[in-house]
Each structure stands twice: as structure tokens, then as C-alpha cells.
Symmetry: C2
Subunit: 524 residues, 2 copies
């Protein structure tokens, strides 16, 4: 690793920890990096300095004595911290300043890989996945054609096939794509369902179809409604299904709502069953929903963005029983499987329908007269033109862990959640939002400060309790010790939603979270 | 940089160039990386080995004696190359094999940063941008909330404001987002145009609006049609505008088609003007189109995915005169400005309309009772939920180059294209597809092999000429020396489209391309 000799370090030119070789001032200008003539040395030195910053960040991320974040309000960061100014200017900065900018960007960010970051469904920092992303950026290519991404295109095909096998579609046949996130994957499912039943919408628009209705649980992800709005269905035509107390769709409610819609003369088109809901981690009963979809000839989509990973676990995959009956499935390896952001797949049982729905046959990109088998040019299946390479990090992690490695990771995360559940269920000051062992790693609970424990249920108590989680969260962020999500749900006031997807988490981190909530909340 | 001592290297354990420390077998398993106990050393060693592979790749990318690609057909790669097998298995691989996988993935890929890779609008490998992407992957976070991406969210805001200033909107006011590519940015423009004129479509669907019509040039990017299909307009309602011989929209044709549509009782909604078309690099006359949009009260979108970068150049920005009159603009820094993939912005003149169009106010993510100013939570403006951090590399490049650095880059690329134009215009064996100096870096030409030079125009000659570019391209790819795109356009048979966006390109690379085409094509 390039470093200047010790005597030069003492020359007073060591500023902000960046070592500046005094006899190589030309290295200080970005202009002297490759492709500049003789830019190799400066380039290598610069990249290794960056890697030094990054590897230090990685080490500290796994160190529990490091804070999860160093919180600042927007106006504070906008005013500029010492040596760190977000404003852009006409003139270039020195490489020295660029390195400072890199370090400070990380300093004022949030360590999503920290063992005590529980704030999002995506967490953790997988080292193999990280290496995969570094390679992906270095390759800097695009998924639209085999021509410029031969290896990545094949990796995507093989990996999607493996995922379809795990879903249970015969011989892993079908189709799919990696898309920029679960919301877009879900949007694809609605688009192809519409194309399947009303292909003329592609050319004639929604006026060629009757009034179409989509069904999804009131606990489902908001992206189904977003898709309804964007694709021209309208959110009024996205009907929310009632759930049981655990947040699972009640099949009878689906059937009743289908009949109601039909009676009004509208056409039920699509049902989304959620496998792992965002807040409760609930798994809708796919088989019972599939029975109804078959009876009424509806498209069945399973949104397994969060829960799809459980298909890798022999112990937990039964929670998705019936998924093989779905017409399409969303599955985000960047959530439960710990793959770096972003990595989301839309998987489709019927081959060819993605291309049928989306292809426009652009001549400049998808020339039919190429020298290789152009069925490997997958870009015309997508609504994107350029498509980021999201596959490599996932493929590399699968190589490094094997299927059994993912299984162990998932089983471990679910065990940790059960540990938390056992710990706080019936613990003084904690109240579960729903009864029973969680289906996924989501554990939803209220912390009841001592001041509210004696109070009987009333509007006043509800209002006070509603303010507890945000207050504790704000203190957590300001002290930087841990992060966990909270939200209201239906008529339930703000509660914490704990999730585990980070391989670095241990029981001691769960203990820490509980202690921290009690510490911060005791005087509220 | 960690390396084993020389005597250990001789022990025969050096396989495929990966140095294996014999006394540290535990380092060989991915299992021993962080977060494993005492995993720090193994992690650092592994990451530095990966960086060694990547930096070697970077060096070779800029070395003209390295091939652009080592072409293999899909079936060859699928059958497996020596030591490189794409199949995934249940069991984990060793770290040694993971490193081999990394090296081979790069080996069989395409060097999009090579100075002789001219195949795509996105090319080059900017070192600062690369460092930015490495950092982005290490931070591994998500743009949806300030809560987990405080620095990146602010960088995005400041950068979008700077871009709006360059467009010429007063004080840089307005709105915007980085999206996963130009096609999605263009899709946003159609969505918000619809929301502006028919907001009730969000809730009631397309049946709440009359038959709406979109206009775009026959030379425009296919994403406008894709958006028309996806959003429920139907491709029949995307009317293609005629162009002049240079590929620029004829304003009178737009007005005639608007009147025709109105006469049929449909409602013209949206006009896309292309600033830098994909094949010809044509700039539609924005001011004249804006006059018509104002007259008929239509939304004006400028697709500057490819040409937007010219706004950074005082010499060339006049080609986008009138862009300040647009309601929305697509601008992909990952194309002309050399930012790594992906980096595309949708910019909107009216503030608040993106949120109005797309927000669903998900309680679990966009809690109104956070401790910071939640207007910085931008996720609900997007159709995505999770959104990749595409801003940092761009922001860092802007810091490193300054606005003037981008200007120099753009001016240089356009100079190189003019050099190519001057070189082959009137050269024996070359024929330009359209007359005159190109507006952008696109130079479109046929290579006429000696066997066709004497032939008079006929169907036979057209058919033969149509096959020339694909044949030369196939030979280029098989010899691995260079890559350039080709396509037909309208009634014009296959021709080459040369583009320059890579900072590493010199006149000698342009000379090389011309020589190579002549060398490969002379016997056709």
C-alpha cells in the first residue's frame, strides 16, 4: 500500500490524515489520473487511498464501540461542517480534498451494516457482496445486451432459473428480470397481468379494456397502489383486503370483494398475496388465495420482496406454501438475504410474456443480424433501457455461501427474532402488537414507559403512547447507539417494528436494543 | 498490500495467480470473513486481493495493447471455461475460487472503458467516478429517507438545483430525482404531464380522462413509446413526428398532427423534444416546439438523456436553446458526462408535482413525527420505494473536475467527432448518412467495400450493403480490437454510428477505427 516515507510525513504536509507526498505535487490534481499520460501511478495511489478509507470504514462498521450514526440536522450539514462543503463549483478540487470529501461523506452517514442498525428490511454489509459491487462498478456495463455484458447476462439467467426452481415451477422454467427494487418488480407484475388478459391495452391504451380491479391486503406494500396509479388503473380500483389480527389476508373477504366488483360490472384482474408484509411480517395464505384466483381466473402475484428469502430455508419455506401456483413473484435478495442494495427480481411463470408486454424492438440496440444468438439480448423485456448490473454481487454471494449458507443465515435471523419475542413477551413495560410467535423476523411491540403503566386505556393514554416511539427513536439517533423503525398501523398508535436481516447481529445486540429502549424511555 | 513471504509462494500453493498463505487455511473460507470473530485480518486480506484484481483491470483498460473484449458465444460460456463455471451450488466455494471467479468475470467481459470501445452512448471509466461507486457500495444505503442517507439526500438536492440552473429555470427552482435510467426518467415526464392536466387519473384511472395523445419524433428514443404502453395510453396514441434529413423534428408537422388529433376529438397532452437523438445525435428545435406547446397548452418534455451534457459547454449549449421553456427535462450524466452507470435525472420545473403525482404516504417509512425536517424525505416522490444512491459518484466527479472540467471533456469529445467527420467525409469507401457537421458526437456512415463501389443503386446493392456493417462488427468483436454500433434507420440500410463520450479517446483511436473498418471490410 503506497505510503510516503516517515521523514516526509513529518514535514507538516500531513493534513487531515491524508498523506501528501511533497515531491509529487502533480499527484494532487484529478487531471493527472488516468487517462492522463503516465497517470498510472497517481491513479493507483489514489485508488488505494480510497480503499484505505473504505476498509477502515468496514472495520469500524463491525465494531460495536463505533456509533451507528453521527446525527446532524439538514441545516447543519447544509451550512457545511469543518472541511466538508457540499456545494459544487466551477473549479476543480485537489485529490487531497476529494479524499477528505470521501471520508466525511462516510462520517456523516449511517452505518447500515452496523450490528445495531435494525431500521430497515435491508441491513448488514456482506463482504463478498461488497467485493461484488466493487467489481460491478469497475466493469461499468449495462444489462441490455449480451454484446456488452456477456457474463452478467448469463449469470442473471442461471440465477433466475435457480430462483424459479426454489419457487417450485417445473424445471425452473419461466422468465424474469432483476429490476430496480421491489416496487418496480411489483409494477411489472401488474403490467404483465394486464397484458395477459388485455393485450390490446399495449397499443390502444386502457380504453380498450373494461374497468379493471386489483386486490391487495391492507397490510401490503404501498407499491401496489403506486403501480395502480402509474399504470392508469387508478387507486380507487386497487381494493384493499381485510386481514386477521396477524395481518394475513382473509380469503373469504377476497372472494366477497371479487363478487362485489363483478356485480358492479367491473373486471377483477389481479390479486397480490404478500409473503412477508412490511410491518407485521405476515404471510398471506397463498394456497387459499390461489384457489380463489383459479376459480375466478385472476392473475396471482406473490410479493415476496421481504419473505421470498425464506424459500432458501427448509425450516421456514412452508410459510410460502402455494407460491408455485403464482403467475409472478417478487423476491428481493437485497432484503432477507443480505445482498447489497439493490437486488430485486421479478419472476414470471409464463415465458415470453415479459417481452410481449414490453418489447419495442429498437433497431439501434437489438439488431436481429448480430453474430450471436440474440435471444440472449434481454433488454427489450424491460421498461428500462439501460439496466444496472445487479446480478453479480448476488451470484458471487451464492457461490461463496452456497444455498446452505443462505439457509443458515435465514434460520439464524429468525431464531434471533424468536429470542427477542421470548424476551419481551410478558416483560414489564412491553406489549406485543399481536399475539404469537412472529412468522418472519418482524417483532412489533409498544414500549410502555412507567408513567403510562398504571393508566387505563383512554384517548389520552393512546395519544401519549403514540408519542413514545418517536421520542425514543429521536434520542436513539441523537445518541447514535442503535436504530429501529416505528410506525402506526390502522388504528394502532406508533409502535416499534424490530427486524433482523444482518448476519452480524447476535443475542447481545438484541439485549442491547431492549436495554436502550428501557434506558431512553423510562422517564417519558 | 498483504502478500505471503516468498518461500511460501514457492510451496506450490500458488494457483491461478492467487496467493494462498499455507498456514492460514482458515482464510480460505468465506465463513471466516467479518462478521466472524477475529475476521478482520481475513477480510482485509480478501478485499485487498480483490482490489488488486480490480486495479490491474483498470490499468489494462487504458492500455491500447489490451483487447476490448475476448468474445465467446453464449453456449461456450455456459459450457464453462477452464476453472470458471457459472453454475450455482448448494455448497460454498473457497475464497481462492471466489477470486478466480472475479478475475474470470472480468476476463470474459467487455472493457467499456477502453479507448477503442465506441459501442454505446455510455463509455469510459472515470477514476473519480469509480472511487465514488466503490464508496457508494460500501455505504450501502437507500435514498428514500434523510434518516438513513442524510449526506446523499442533500447532495442530490444541491446537484439537481445546479442542473436546473444550467437548464435556465429561475434561481434553479423546481424539482427532480435521480432515476434508474433515461427510460424511467422519460416515463416520469409522461406521468407528471398526465397528473398536471388530469390529476383525477391517479385515483380513477385513465377512464377519467379523454383519449390522450403524446407526440415524439420518429428519431426519438423508444422509451416514449414504452411509457405510452406501460402507463395505459397505448402506443397508437404515441404519434411519431416527421423529421428533416438530419433527424430533427419539423415543427409544422407537429402542429399539423396536433390539429388532426384535435379534429378527431382526442386530446393532445405531451410533446417530447429530443436533445441529442440516439442514432443521429439530432437536436430538435426546442424554441419552435415550445411555441406550439404554448399555443395549444401542451406539456413540453425535453429528452436530453444524451444531449443534456452539452449544457455544460459554453460553445455547444446553444443547441439546446429553449430548454428553459420545457416543463421537464431528462438528462443522463452517465452518458455524455462520463459518470459511471447509472446516473439519470428527471428535472421538473414545477415544484411539488412529482410528490402530488406519486405520493402514497406510507406510514412505516415517511413518518410525519420524526425529529428532523421531513421535507427532506424524498422517497414518496418516486415510483420506486428503495432507490439506489446514484448521486455520490456524480457529485464527487463534479467536485474533482469543476464545471469547467465537464466543459473541457464535452468540447474535446465534440472536437474528436468533427475530426472523424473531416477524415471520412469524401474519403473513398465511406459515405455519410446525412450531410453536414454532426450536431453531437454521432457520426453516421456507411463503409462501402471495393466490391460495391462500382455498383449503381439497386435492391441488390442495398441488400449487400445492409450486410456489410454487421459482418464488420462481428469480425471486430471476434478480433476484439474495437467496437462500434450499427443499425438501420427508416429506409436506410445498416450503417455505423460512431459516438465519443470516453475521455480516454484520442485522434489516434479514431484513426485506428477507420483503419480497422477498412482492413476488415476490404474483401466483403
Amino acid at each position: 500500500h503506497l505510503r510516503v516515507p516517515a521523514e516526509e510525513q513529518q514535514s507538516g504536509r500531513e493534513r487531515q490524515g491524508v498523506l501528501v507526498p511533497p515531491n509529487r505535487d502533480r499527484l494532487l490534481q484529478p487531471l493527472y489520473l488516468l487517462p492522463a499520460k503516465n497517470g498510472e501511478e497517481a491513479t493507483m495511489q489514489f485508488l488505494l487511498e480510497v480503499v484505505d478509507i473504505l476498509t477502515n470504514y468496514v472495520k469500524k462498521t463491525f465494531d460495536r464501540s463505533t456509533k451507528v450514526l453521527d446525527f446532524h440536522h439538514p441545516h447543519q450539514l447544509l451550512e457545511g461542517m469543518e472541511g466538508f462543503n457540499l456545494e459544487l463549483s466551477d473549479q476543480p478540487e485537489s485529490l487531497e480534498q476529494i479524499l477528505v470529501d470521501c471520508r466525511d461523506t462516510l462520517k456523516y452517514g449511517v452505518r447500515t451494516g452496523h450490528p445495531r442498525f435494525f431500521n430497515q428490511l435491508s441491513s448488514g454489509l456482506d463482504i463478498i457482496g461488497l467485493a461484488g459491487e466493487w467489481l460491478t462498478s469497475t466493469a461499468n456495463t449495462n444489462m441490455f445486451t449480451y454484446e456488452i455484458a456477456p457474463v452478467f447476462v448469463l449469470m442473471e439467467q442461471l440465477t433466475l432459473k435457480k430462483m424459479r426452481e426454489m419457487i417450485g415451477w417445473p424445471a425452473g422454467e419461466g422468465d424474469g428480470l432483476f429490476s430496480p427494487g421491489g416496487a418496480i418488480s411489483n409494477m411489472y407484475s401488474v403490467m404483465i397481468a394486464r397484458y395477459k388478459y388485455f393485450p390490446e391495452v399495449k397499443t390502444k391504451g386502457m380504453s380498450a379494456a373494461p374497468r379493471l380491479v386489483l386486490f391487495t391486503s391492507e397490510h401490503s406494500h404501498y407499491s401496489i397502489k403506486k403501480a395502480g396509479a402509474a399504470l392508469g388503473f387508478g387507486t380507487d380500483n386497487v381494493i384493499l383486503l381485510s386481514t386477521d389480527e396477524r395481518g394475513r389476508v382473509i380469503p373469504a373477504d377476497l372472494e366477497a370483494k371479487i363478487l362485489d366488483v363483478k356485480q358492479k360490472g367491473y373486471v377483477p384482474l389481479f390479486v397480490n398475496a404478500t409473503a412477508g408484509s412490511t410491518v407485521y411480517g405476515a404471510f398471506d395464505p397463498i394456497n387459499e388465495i390461489a384457489d380463489i384466483c383459479e376459480k375466478y381466473n385472476l392473475w396471482l402475484h406473490v410479493d415476496g420482496a421481504w419473505g421470498g428469502g425464506l424459500l432458501m430455508s427448509r425450516k421456514h419455506r412452508h410459510k410460502l406454501n402455494g407460491v408455485e401456483r403464482a403467475n409472478s413473484v417478487t423476491w428481493n435478495p437485497h432484503k432477507m438475504m443480505g445482498v447489497p442494495l439493490q437486488c430485486s427480481a421479478i419472476l414470471v411463470r409464463e415465458k415470453g410474456i415479459l417481452a410481449g408486454c414490453n418489447s419495442m424492438c429498437a433497431g439501434y440496440l437489438f439488431q436481429p443480424d448480430k453474430q450471436y444468438d440474440v435471444t440472449y439480448d434481454t433488454g427489450d423485456k424491460a421498461i428500462q433501457c439501460g439496466r444496472h448490473v445487479d446480478i453479480f454481487k448476488f451470484w458471487l454471494m451464492w457461490k461463496a455461501k452456497g444455498t446452505i449458507g443462505f439457509e443458515q443465515h435465514i434460520d439464524k435471523c429468525l431464531d434471533l427474532s424468536q429470542y427477542l419475542y421470548n424476551k419481551i413477551n410478558n416483560r414489564e413495560g412491553f406489549q406485543m402488537v399481536f399475539d404469537g410467535v412472529p412468522q418472519h423476523t418482524n417483532v412489533c411491540f409498544w414500549y410502555i414507559p412507567p408513567s403510562l403503566r398504571g393508566m387505563s386505556d383512554s384517548e389520552e393514554r393512546r395519544e401519549k403512547l403514540h408519542r413514545v416511539a418517536p421520542k425514543i427513536k429521536a434520542m436513539m439517533m441523537e445518541s447514535g447507539t442503535t436504530m429501529v423503525g416505528y410506525q402506526p398501523q390502522g388504528n394502532k398508535v406508533n409502535f416499534f417494528r424490530m427486524v433482523v436481516s444482518n448476519a452480524a447481529v447476535t443475542q447481545s445486540d438484541i439485549d442491547f436494543l431492549v436495554d436502550e429502549i428501557e434506558r431512553l424511555g423510562q422517564d417519558l
